[in-house]
Amino acid sequence: MTTVLKVEQITKIYASRGKMTYTALNDVNMQLEQGEFVGIMGPSGSGKTTLLNILATIDKPTAGRISINGHNPLKMSNRDLSKFRRRELGYVFQDFNLIDSLSIKENMILPLALDKVSSSEIERRVQFIAERLGIENILDKRTYEISGGQKQRTAIARAVIHEPSLLLADELTGNLDSRAAKSAMDALEQLNTELGTTVLVVTHDPFTASYCKRILFIKDGKLFTEIRRGSSRPAFFQQILDTLSLLGGNFDDIPSTRLT
């Protein structure tokens, strides 16, 4: 099995204008194998988002090493980095970030169009992914005509259409009701099992996390513990809840974006 993501001794320290420094991540190590479905959980302020930003290569760690599919994004120039992002990474946002002026299909193909893939190849991939995610009937609709679950599945389709080596998801069910959240997670699970996409999900929703095969808990910028799923998801869900209560911290917080 090949290693897709390797993070070694990542530390991130923010320095404010004064002499105050704030350690967001402290000596974090982790490793993802091809085809894994991993979750990261932690209370707010634990450093989840910082970690995700670093993995998404839009932020740089103060110290440490990262390797994604054998590449070292820390040594890349700006231009290579954006190319790297659109080839090797897929990104799913909490608020979908679909582009209103584009149709569903056009939203999906954006990474391919940016990479100048031929239009026949684009059509083929659209069909392939849309069927798997159950959005083939809404391809010509616009973003305001579809439900939240469909939006998130479109966003997932956009994130995997270029077959990235790593799919990153940031609170992808945060803006969805429970049914839509289930449909989005089902879709993600299906992609993971059928296509072998490596998935890394950041969430603080235990239900969403229960889809993962493995969950890393993070607290105050440090890895706290790691649990693995057995065969049953309900049992795993309970296990997550237990770990969370052990972890403490405030999980009821509402991310600011939810207001909008």
Binding site: F84, R85, F93, I99, I109, L110, Y144
Partner: protein
């Protein structure tokens, strides 16, 4: 914290948000103040009184126009500014600020901005006034440079007028404050994108009517001006409107059909978003296009008239200064005297030509008796060499005919173009038949000293006549050219003083002959430039506010694009297209309208208005580009802020 302090704090700590609003208010105050203090400058009031009723009317109309433009402009920017602060309003009311307290806060804020921009505007205007008066005196060749003065009346007038303007507008915009539900205010306004609808019929007819109005404008001459003016305006305006609302969507639909192009890189983003932008802002774009067209057309017309006056004076005198000697009256000054004075005034003499003329009459050209002037072909060729024209082959028998009337702006009268001209000379019994070898439309000798038609005879024949005719018919012209003739008004005045012959027939110059015409047209030109400048700032600022109102929404859009994998370069390219469309589309459409209007003007008058129009359009586009670059910089700085690396 008192309310005044809060308002002040709002402004000082959010300076970047207020600065654009403040600067554009200041600018319009400056322009208005400059215009008023210039128009009521004691030195100029005199010139204006020469303009007559129409001229006076134009000046008053222009003041109203400038004020009107600034009214709508300030109204627009202030309401745009308030709506961009909705979220803030929502927060304040969430903390318990009442509707009236909110309004009070806005009144304080607007009051502060109004006072500051009036003060700064008048201050800047006073500084610019000196510069402006200097360039104005230079350009209009005034008797003495306009003295600098601090126009108290103009300052008070500007301050009162703008205070009233700001007050009115503040009241107007306040109607809206506090009327919306709190939730709506706190939620960031999300533009609900509608599906882009369009009709093929309207889309295509917009292009058809535009092209047809252009065709009509291109082929309009004086005789059908009256009947065509109205259809051209209606077609052009309707065409422009549907161009933005219908044709823009249509063209995008067509572009999307080419899959391999559409799916290529940032085209996907550019095209679809451009269509939305144009459709959403269709009314603003339409208004700006029409205003650009109106303003560019009027300033190009004024410019064309001014330049053609200048050209006319250039063409009517091939030399800067001339003197005449007739048999009983010698030259008023010797050429050495002229040289000395010219050097005193820092003009270098570049050429001196002397030429003898025999006066004859003929009725072959007009069908009635008219004067013709006879010169020697060798003199002619010397003259042509001096003014840098092609010389003509000396002939044995035939003559060259110089038609000096073509350069006159409004030519009239029925002319005959005969192959031979029969001339009569006083003192000679029989008339003389001269065969025309070539007719040339050009002015060589000031039309005051030679008639409209100059015939260049073979040297031998001319000398025979010279010896036969009475000396009364012979005159001599001395023509002088010097550098920088546009500024030689004072030199000529000094020469007249020296000869003790003010406004003498025997002395003429290019500059004095056209002095008044040029002054009037310069005045018109300056007023035109004022209004254009005013408008330019207004339209630019409207676009600027439009752009910055959507800024927060755009920012999250671009940030998600970066996560998807757009490089900074690609983001910049996308931004270029998005902002460029809003800046340049109305500019280009308006310029096109202008060019066709100029074609009509060229058809109506003996003026090459197209090239002047082109100059004006070019200047406008350059200025608009500068505005674009500055706004793009500010925009990108905000967009890319917080994006690491």
């Amino acid at each position: 914290m008192t309310f005044r302090a809060l308002a002040l704090r709002n402004i000082t700590s959010n300076w970047h948000r207020y600065s654009a609003y403040f600067l554009s208010c200041t600018f319009s105050v400056t322009i208005f103040f400059l215009y008023i203090s210039y128009m009521y400058h004691p030195g100029l009031v005199q010139i204006q009184s020469q303009l007559g009723e129409i001229g006076q009317g134009i000046i008053v109309t222009c003041s109203i126009l400038i004020f009107g433009i600034s009214f709508f402009f300030v109204l627009y920017s202030s309401s745009g500014f308030i709506s961009s602060r909705q979220k803030e309003v929502g927060l304040f009311s969430l903390f318990g600020m009442s509707k009236w307290q909110l309004r009070l806060m806005f009144v304080y804020e607007n009051l502060l901005i109004a006072i500051a921009s009036i003060a700064v505007g008048i201050g800047t205007g006073t500084i610019l006034l000196k510069l402006f008066l200097m360039s104005m005196s230079y350009y209009m060749i005034l008797e003495s440079p306009l003295p600098f003065y601090f126009p108290i009346d103009a300052a008070i007038f500007t301050a009162v007028a703008y205070m009233a303007l700001f007050g009115l507008i503040t009241l107007w915009t306040l109607r809206k404050v506090g009327k919306k539900e709190l939730v709506e205010l706190i939620r960031s306004e999300k533009g609900n994108d509608q599906k882009l609808r369009f009709s093929w019929l309207l889309g295509i007819s917009s292009i058809v009517s535009l092209v047809y109005s252009y065709y009509l404008a291109w082929h309009t001459h004086v005789e059908h001006l009256g009947s065509r003016m109205f259809p051209i305006f209606v077609l052009a305006i309707a065409g422009t409107y549907f161009l933005y609302t219908q044709f823009s969507v249509l063209i995008v639909r067509v572009l999307k059909l080419n899959r391999s192009w559409y799916y290529n890189g940032t085209n996907l983003l550019n095209i679809s978003r451009a269509a939305h932008r144009v459709k959403e802002n269709a009314r603003v774009l339409f208004n700006i296009s029409i205003l650009v067209a109106v303003v560019l057309t009027s300033s190009a017309s004024v410019y064309a008239l001014d330049r053609s006056m200048h050209q006319h004076s250039r063409a009517s005198h091939s030399f800067a200064f001339s003197m005449l000697k007739v048999h009983d009256k010698p030259f008023l000054l010797t050429i050495d005297q002229v040289k000395t004075v010219a050097e005193q005034y820092q003009h270098q003499i570049t050429a001196v030509e002397e030429l003898e003329i025999i006066e004859a009459t003929s009725n072959s050209i007009y069908g009635r008796t008219g004067a013709v002037s006879l010169i020697r072909q060798s003199d002619l060729n010397r003259l042509l060499t001096t003014i840098g024209r092609q010389t003509l082959e000396p002939l044995d028998e035939d003559v060259y005919w110089f038609d000096q009337r073509v350069n006159e702006l409004f030519q009239g009268g029925n002319r005959i173009n005969p192959g031979t001209i029969e001339i009569q000379l006083e003192g000679l019994k029989q008339s003389l038949n001269l065969t025309i070898n070539q007719k040339i439309d050009d002015t060589l000798i000031p039309s005051r000293y030679a008639s409209g038609d100059v015939l260049a005879l073979p040297d031998l024949q001319w000398e025979q006549l010279y010896n036969q005719v009475s000396p009364k018919l012979i005159s001599k012209v001395i023509m002088v050219d010097w550098t920088n003739w546009e500024q030689s008004y004072w030199l000529v005045k000094e020469l007249e003083r020296l000869a003790d012959a003010p406004n003498s027939y025997y002395m003429t110059s290019r500059i004095t002959d056209n002095y008044e015409v040029q002054q009037t047209s310069s005045l018109g030109f300056f007023i035109g430039i004022f209004i254009s400048l005013m408008f330019f700032v207004a339209s630019g600022s409207i676009i600027y506010f439009k752009m910055f109102n959507d800024l927060q929404e755009d920012k999250s859009y671009y940030q998600s694009l970066i996560r998807i994998g757009l490089s900074i370069q690609e983001i910049k390219r996308v931004v270029n297209v998005q902002i460029g469309i809003i800046f340049f589309l109305p500019c280009i459409i308006g310029s096109l309208h202008t060019m066709f209007a100029m074609k009509t003007l060229s058809n109506i008058m003996n003026v090459d208005a197209m090239s002047y129009g082109f100059t004006i359009v070019l200047i406008f586009i350059v200025m608009q580009s500068l505005y674009f670059l500055a706004s793009r910089r500010a925009y990108l700085r905000v967009i890319l802020q917080g994006i690491a690396r």
